[in-house]
Symmetry: C2
Subunit: 493 residues, 2 copies
């Protein structure tokens, strides 16, 4: 894979090599020590919760609680100030009132490598004090030799070294997806949907106002970091549009970059201004810029996670052409599903070619003629939910030369209305076997319904087998379109 | 309410009054007796399952199993033929091979009122035998004095008299929603999503090939039936487009009629032809016809259920204007949600007016300035998940004169990452109280995540309090658009 040095990787006016870039971000994403400022003896204060979260998560480095009163808290020695801490601290988590920030930063000078501010009330607040404080932050960071994450953000998520996302100790599995979010709340949702849907992160960042390190910086880092295979970004605006564009362009040449630009409408842009102080320009310009850069534009948190999921699960499989087969009706009554699935796929421009007459003849031999739709979509209603019949028929669909990817609709709720869980499990595990046996990718649609506990158990088994699962046919189709567009972009080179 | 007699309510060439129409469908939707044909001693045969389902559901009338061998089955006397049955049977459920159907119908003549065929293999099979059999069915029904439901369908769902939908005994709560589905599987999904989301049906029908009673007949019936307040229809095509159009027009004047026409694309239309033998003409024509009729056009099963749900839950509340407020951030980090919520609403043309300066001043008094977005959307992050603060702030939003409907985003997954269930419950029940106290409607967005058991419990509590709940902001916004369009259509008269 080509791996160009970024044209814009500059630290205080000095261009960095890839190695220097990775080293620059090491204290932020792989800290060996973390200090927490803003703790109190009250465990319900957010600083205390943050400290507890690091302990609960099992953070792999040293933890230094900082408070003028000193003493002990949650079993750890509390330091009066950074001067007392016996080493240079990699990462500092700050949640104190904005007025107290300048004094803290004097204490941090030449003693820490990066400071993350959960604290809000800077540029986004829209008052003179906020703007003045923001300038002071930048100046003190430059002079004190440290970088700033935020302010007004949740900061880093790094499951490998067990840095949790936000003041709660839950950590997900380590994977290769990276996220960059201007909003802390959207980052929370990405983290949570990762747990729910099997998206495994290498790292994530919420950067809020981004007054020092900004979206293009994190994008460069994640594009350069070999542990990240796909990047998802939530943006509300950009301080330097040109730099963001060139960074997206460079990043998209290296790995899939999925961008959700919110604040597309006037109302959304107004909300973005009060949220992270971003100026959001017109939707059409943003769309054009994202598409021109080679990044994949998505419209909401659902499409963002759907697209990250399909890249994670299928990114290494080659989708050779654009022929899609849709298989449904594992319980009776797949006809209507076939009709509406066809619409959902065709409306997004996916190609649903008829199966060859040879394949259809073989399918008829297995399923019989009456009540079956065997053209494509393929309605397996006549299989009577028979495991081996389903496997044989789906195998024929995979083998058809005009098919490059197979979508299977498994409606757990309809199956469970008629069949016991054990039988339903024996049916959906067919596709786990086929994922391992087939060269062509498989995508599952699993619509929510009245048997959610079992459906979620099914989804998690499928996810663990590297099968991407979507709640609706339309969302599956959109994710496939995003995947195949990027394949074409990469192949054009 | 105006209640015109339908121009097209004709039985074998004779025009019916509303009362005659209701009486005509009484044996189908409110049968006093049901016969089941196609049972065997094998309980796993579909006919046997159907019989068992009627027993399990507690069907309120007499049940007559029919089989030439007679005897007893599942504790019921089995009748050799219809001649032996001591009364006229209202509704017959048939699942036998298509070849055996003509003889059965001779037996039914003048002895039954309606015959439902689960049996497939007629017009939709595309062979000469299928087409010939279909003609024979019609002719025997005319001469034998009974109506046909189907063939190739699941038939009736009537929770009031405890007729289950399909061969499984599960019955939902009785309500006022009616569904009409050309596909049995889509009907299954509507039934199941009803259980899951709190949509309560008065009745439903899957009519398959509809060779005798067809979509316009069921539509007339449900439009006339005072127990139905909103109708949802899944259609793949129509035999008589003009009659369907005039029926939709008459029905939409009486109550909301929500129509999902599938087979919109070429591939979808091809699938529809093999499914129910329907000729689906171009999407643009269908859209124009549905909209002109005053019906509400939807695109998939999600939008169909979303729209039925909002009419059921809010149909009686008047939405006076088109000003929408969005409230989010009940846990920390509502800023990004506000930005993207604004986009989702604005892109669908909903009006998100700024709150009055008076309302914003009062909100600032409660929530403080820093970190809060109080223009609209309103970000309650600064409430610290405090119940009374949330209630007071939301009350101010309701009271603002430019607001006609309030959307609240409750992200159970993010709340539960930080708070115990009891606290989360104390928060969302605020909105159950407000539903009862406020004149303006409330809509909740509850995104899925990693705490589904608790989230579903929350959704069900909200649904029981007549609050419509949607999984995404976009789907909520679309349902609101559908609701308000129909209000405008009704007000125009």
């Amino acid at each position: 894979m080509r791996h160009p040095a970024f044209s814009v990787t500059i630290k205080f006016g000095v261009k960095l090599t890839n190695e220097e870039l990775l080293r620059e971000f090491e204290p932020i994403f792989y800290p060996k020590s973390i200090a927490v400022v803003g703790i109190s003896q009250n465990i319900f204060k957010v600083g205390s919760l943050w400290l507890k979260a690091l302990i609960d998560a099992g953070f792999r480095g040293s933890i230094y609680p900082i408070h003028p009163r000193g003493g002990e808290f949650l079993g750890l020695k509390v330091y009066n100030s950074f001067k007392e801490v016996p080493e240079i601290v990699d990462y500092v988590i700050v949640s104190i009132p904005r007025e107290a920030v300048p004094e803290l930063l004097d204490d941090c000078a030449h003693k820490v490598k990066a400071v993350h501010f959960f604290t809000a009330g800077f540029g986004e607040a829209g008052d003179a004090t906020g703007r003045k404080l923001e300038e002071e932050l930048i100046s003190k960071a430059r002079h004190g030799g440290f970088r700033i994450v935020g302010p007004n953000c949740i900061g880093v998520y790094s499951p490998e070294v067990r840095v949790p996302y936000g003041p709660s100790g839950r950590i997900g599995e380590v994977g290769s997806v990276g996220f960059i979010s201007q909003s802390g709340g959207i980052g929370e949702k990405l983290f949570e949907l990762g747990l729910a849907r099997g998206i495994k992160y290498s790292k994530g960042i919420s950067f809020g106002n981004g007054i020092d390190l900004d979206s293009p910086d994190y994008m460069e880092y994640m594009a350069t970091d070999p542990r990240v295979s796909v990047i998802g970004a939530y943006l509300e605006g950009a301080k330097n549009g040109h730099r963001l564009f060139t960074t997206m362009k460079d990043a998209a040449r290296l790995k899939p970059l999925v961008v959700w630009k919110a604040g597309r409408t006037d109302v959304g842009a107004a909300a973005a201004a009060s949220h992270t102080g971003s100026l959001a320009s017109s939707a059409a310009i943003w769309s054009a810029v994202i598409r021109q850069s080679g990044a994949i534009e998505v419209q909401d948190v659902e499409e963002l996670t759907d697209t990250l999921l399909i890249f994670q699960q299928l990114g290494r499989l080659e989708v050779k052409g654009n022929g899609i087969a849709v298989v449904g009706g594992l319980a009776d009554g797949g006809g209507g599903i076939s009709v509406s699935a066809s619409d959902a796929c065709a409306e997004l421009g996916l190609n649903i070619p008829p199966l060859s007459s040879e394949t259809r003849r073989k399918l008829t031999n297995i399923l019989g003629r009456v009540g079956s739709i065997l053209r494509n979509p393929v309605d397996l209603s006549q299989s009577g939910s028979n495991r081996s019949m389903i496997k044989e028929a789906t195998g024929l669909v995979f083998a058809d030369s005009s098919i490059d990817l197979v979508i299977v609709q498994i409606d757990a709720g309809i199956l469970l209305k008629y069949l016991p869980w054990e039988l339903v499990e024996s049916i959906f595990t067919v596709f786990i076997e086929m994922r391992a046996e087939q060269q062509k990718p498989i995508v599952i649609v699993s619509p929510p319904g009245a048997f959610e506990a079992q459906r979620i158990e099914m989804e998690q088994q499928l996810a663990r087998a590297s099968i991407p699962v979507f709640p609706t046919m339309k969302r599956a189709a959109k994710a496939i379109v995003n995947l195949s567009r990027y394949s074409r972009f990469r192949n054009r080179g």
